[in-house]
């Protein structure tokens, strides 16, 4: 790759990533998955209905299928891959986040396709509002469609995180 092929640079999960040899109108979802080797965000509806492509763009949870990647320059993008902690208590590690762990232990994952989007949406909710009401949780994930679980175990996982984060604060 020479410099002439450089089209634009995105800051993804704390790293500047060059997007090369691509059509400049591509969606952020496509660029993440096909250009930057980050397949965690899923593509399903491609019209903002399902939430499986949810990422954090600056301070907002958005559908990456509805963001033109080239317009996300000078922004901070966090995908589900970026929620993995590289260090735990100063030690180098690759560990899953508390939200991801709660989804596992509460059995909130069945086919798993919606899970990355839900994980990002729940992180976004709980970072802004550490003790949401049931209705606030429902509204926060109303844009993330799951056809397997019936949502019961997802709410259980969210409640488990609320409880554990509350204990840590105390």
């Amino acid at each position: 790759m020479n410099a002439e092929n450089l089209i634009y640079t995105l800051n993804v999960n704390g790293t500047d990533r060059e997007v090369k040899d691509s059509w400049v109108g591509e969606s952020l979802l496509y660029v993440l998955r096909e250009r930057l080797d980050l397949p965690g965000s899923k593509g399903a509806c491609e019209q903002g209905e399902c939430g499986s492509c949810t990422v954090l763009l600056d301070d907002d949870a958005v559908c990456s299928c509805l963001v033109m990647a080239a317009t996300a320059v000078d922004s901070t993008i966090t995908t589900v891959e970026g929620l993995i902690s590289d260090t735990v208590m100063g030690e180098t590690a690759r560990t899953i986040s508390d939200v991801q762990a709660a989804f596992v232990t509460e059995g909130a994952v069945q086919c798993g396709f919606c899970t990355p989007g839900l994980i990002v949406a729940v992180h976004h909710l709980l970072d802004k509002n550490p003790s949401p009401s049931d209705i606030e949780v429902k509204e926060a994930i109303s844009g993330n469609i799951c056809r397997c679980t019936g949502y019961g175990r997802i709410f259980a996982a969210v409640n488990a995180v609320i409880e554990s984060r509350g204990k840590i604060q105390k």
Binding site: W23, V24, G25, S27, E46, Q47, G48, E49, G51, T54, D60, A61, V62, C63, C65, L66, V67, M68, A70, T71, V73, D74, A121, E139, A140, S142, G143, N144, I145
Partner: protein, 281 residues
Amino acid sequence: MTVTVATNLADALAALRATPEARLLQGGTDTMVEINFNHYKPEHIVALRKVEELRSFSIQEDKGEIFIGSGVPYQTLENDPFLTLLPALAQASRTVGSPQIRAAGSLGGNLGTCSPAGDGLPVLSALDAIVHLRSVDDSRDVLFHDFMTGVKRNTRKPDEIITGVTVPILNGFQGYSKVGVRNAMVISVASACLAVDKATAQVRLALGAVGPTIIRCRDTEQWLSAQVDVTASVFSNAAAKEFGRRAALEARPIDDHRSTAEYRRHAISVLAERLLLKANS
């Protein structure tokens, strides 16, 4: 294809003047769907999401009005101060898509697309909003009623950017209701915005998704003003029923993939009746 990511309004206007055929991109929730489904292949994009001037609002207490930048996202409009000052706008904003869509979508996008099902538009109609447009060397203000001319048609010129809207802060009940196939993540099958303006003794009613434009029910409004003292805001069940019936007659719905004309007309009669009953003080 070119993509210009403007960081201020002057740059955005200059880019648009240079390529007036460019598509303006705000939140992307309409345009990116067209691109993803291969319904549209852009030649030039002028992206506005980094234009801070479009993302601010200001409350002008002395004039009793609020300026809302075209890029202010719905997630801002659904909360205070809008919840208190413009409750119908806050309610309508909260019904738009999902939290992800409300983080991206804006009134500017609703106005640019001008779909009759745009949830912000009945509110702008009921409030007699003024739409502000700018080009490199000109600026003009248009009543919303004169701005939207048809399904996805408006009077924006190719080199103009919608900078925002000005809406009045009214004294009186406001409400927005819509019917869709489920509670969340739904595009309107029929919607209605009712705003009471005690200062002019007016009840204003605007309908969405039941005609080529947003429909202001002027005949129904006038009928009501002749029947009851709007400043007292006491509306009987019988008056509300007749209000709904008349509003449904002013609707011009069609059959399409989302619903039927018959159901839409019925929905409007119910929405208008219920909104007026809610306006009872």
